[in-house]
């Protein structure tokens, strides 16, 4: 079945010169394993082909169940020369959460959540 990343992860984005960067966070270790498998640099580059003119970098961080993405040449040269309403790339994280991935129903039952697993 297809789910949105918003159904299993959270994200924040920001800017540095002409780069937009996104932290993508699984709610738990099961979700993190799926993120690592599905959300590749290639998929993210395709997802953001409409803004990112340069390569996408990907840094998984097992210690905090997160993946850092950096979109190069994604802000029309930088926030101070961008024509976009979101010149600072603040909403790029939301756009990533719209990405759809394929998971099995068993997997979905384990990872779909919009809050931390209660202890």
């Amino acid at each position: 079945m297809r789910i949105r990343l918003a159904d299993m992860a959270h994200a924040r984005s920001g800017d540095k010169a002409d780069r937009a960067d996104i932290g993508l966070f699984a709610w738990d270790a099961d979700g993190y394993a799926v993120l690592k498998r599905e959300v590749t640099a290639d998929r993210v580059a395709t997802h953001f082909a409409w803004i990112a003119q340069g390569p996408v970098e990907r840094y998984p961080l097992d210690n905090i169940l997160a993946i850092k993405f950096v979109l190069n040449r994604a802000l029309q040269g930088g926030a101070a020369r961008s024509l976009r309403s979101d010149n600072l790339g603040k909403t790029v994280g939301a756009a990533l959460l719209r990405m759809e991935i394929d998971v099995s129903e068993a997997e979905a039952a384990r990872i779909v959540r919009r809050e931390p697993r209660t202890k």
Partner: protein, 455 residues
């Protein structure tokens, strides 16, 4: 065991200082580190300074400290702020004058030397290429259009100012996290080559430099953001730091917001490039070794970060003139709202072409429909929208063209598609600035850095 509590001030020029009151009154902090300078802010301050040579610092400095100093002074709370912007001396003078008027006494330090605007040719002559950090382009291509250039200084001059007894330290451009690392090195006496402790201090600074983003604000998520309690009374993050650099991040009792594993790791990775090599002037931080342990009750322990030796260069960001932006926003009501907005944009675009107006980029966004999500927006309801607003933005080298964009729209109220409403007026042109990130040998900057304390 000696611990130091340090609290977050502002996260940008324009941020609220009301939450800082709770950190001072109930958060038992000894320091407030306040970051007024986003990457873009020097561009805004440059525009201010064109109008008034005494400006160029962030104008929130005086009202903020006028509100907070009476609370801070009896408790011995010190401030480190980069509110100096492009004019730290001007900021110092304004603050000293405001304090004298009130009859308040404070030792105010100012750090100068980050500005290299007037030193570009000297640095080039000294063998610094100042090539664009990302593209490798030669700075000669923008040399004539440069407006400002500032190096990111580290924690050392802040440490020096505190060691000289400063109560308030004002800087220009410093690495954001250095606003917090400086006080920690001062308190703990960490060696400047104790890379792991410096790295842990840098993590603390990074978690606190964006005010409410370290305590549940802007918690990027679907649904979960709504479970962060009482954002109206958010408490900015406070770190309780131990001598080994281990810290507990929390917030003042009775405040809103949330400090948790989830809210804190969003801030940890915010505006970070390679998390294994997070460059600062004082240390290169590896975030891959640290742990965030949620202790509950808005307390998260941060431990185990490691560092590598600091770079031999400092980052410099310069700004240069890069044309003008003209914008216009106009609304249409059902029926056919989207089709009419699209048709109107086509008419304006054709008119600009017929008038042989030089436009480099023509950017169209349908506000409320696809301005943020682009091709990932759900536009299935596009043909039956209740209303839609279209925003047109153009890039041009000619200010008059940018100023004139808005005038292409009003006549269409009578001669264009029906049910147009809410024209936002004719917006003046905005100056566009390019940012030029580069590096410079640190010694060439640091020999010009001065710390001056005023009683």
């Amino acid at each position: 065991m000696h611990t130091v509590r340090i609290g977050a001030g502002l996260g940008f020029y324009g941020d609220s200082w009301l939450p800082v009151r709770a950190s001072i009154e109930r958060g038992e902090v000894s320091y407030i580190g306040s970051d007024h300078l986003a990457e873009l802010t020097l561009a805004i301050l440059h525009k201010d300074r064109l109008k008034d040579a005494a400006a160029g610092y962030t104008r929130d400095l005086v009202p903020m400290l006028t509100a907070l100093w009476p609370l801070a002074q009896p408790r011995g709370v010190k401030f480190v702020l980069n509110a100096g912007g492009l004019n730290p001396i001007g900021a110092r003078d304004a603050l000293v004058s405001a304090f004298r008027e009130k009859g308040w006494r404070a030792r105010i330090a100012v750090v100068t030397g980050d500005g290299v605007t007037g030193r570009i040719d000297e640095l080039r002559a000294a063998g610094q290429p100042l090539a664009h950090l990302d593209t490798g382009a030669d700075i000669a291509s923008v040399r004539e259009r440069l407006l400002f250039a500032n190096a990111y200084l580290g924690a050392r001059p802040i440490y020096d100012a505190l060691s000289q007894g400063a109560d308030i330290v004002l800087t220009g451009r410093v690495a954001d996290a250095a606003l917090f690392l400086g006080p920690l090195v001062h308190e703990f006496g960490w060696a400047w080559d104790d890379w792991d402790r410096l790295a842990r201090g840098l993590v603390v600074g990074h978690l606190l430099e964006c005010s409410g983003q370290g305590s549940g604000g802007n918690f990027g998520s679907q649904g979960a953001w709504a479970r962060v309690p009482d954002l109206a009374h958010i408490g900015y993050p406070i770190a309780e730091v131990r001598e080994d650099g281990t810290a507990i991040v929390t917030k003042a009792p009775g405040t809103g917001g949330r400090v948790s594993f989830d809210t804190l790791r969003q801030q940890l990775l915010y505006e970070v490039h390679d998390p294994h090599h997070y460059y600062s002037p004082d240390v290169v931080l590896d975030m891959g070794t640290l742990t965030l342990t949620d202790l509950g009750d808005d307390r998260v322990e941060v431990a185990g970060a490691t560092g590598r030796p600091r770079p031999d260069t400092l980052k410099v960001v310069a700004g240069y003139e890069d044309g003008w932006m003209g914008t216009a926003v106009i609304g249409f009501c059902w029926p056919d709202a989207y089709a009419k907005a699209e048709a109107t944009v086509a008419i304006v675009r054709a008119a600009l072409a017929e008038q042989r107006v030089a436009v480099e980029d023509f950017h169209v966004e349908y506000l409320g429909l696809n301005a943020f999500l682009g091709p990932h927006a759900d536009v299935s309801g596009r043909d039956d929208l209740n209303e839609v607003w279209v925003r047109v933005a153009i890039r041009t080298a000619d200010k008059r063209v940018a100023d004139g964009l808005g005038r292409q729209f009003p006549w269409l109220a009578l001669s264009g598609p029906p049910y147009m409403g809410g024209f936002h007026g004719i917006a003046p042109a905005s100056r566009l600035l390019g940012l030029w990130p580069t590096v410079v040998d640190r010694d060439l900057v640091e020999r010009h850095v001065e710390v001056t304390v005023t009683q």
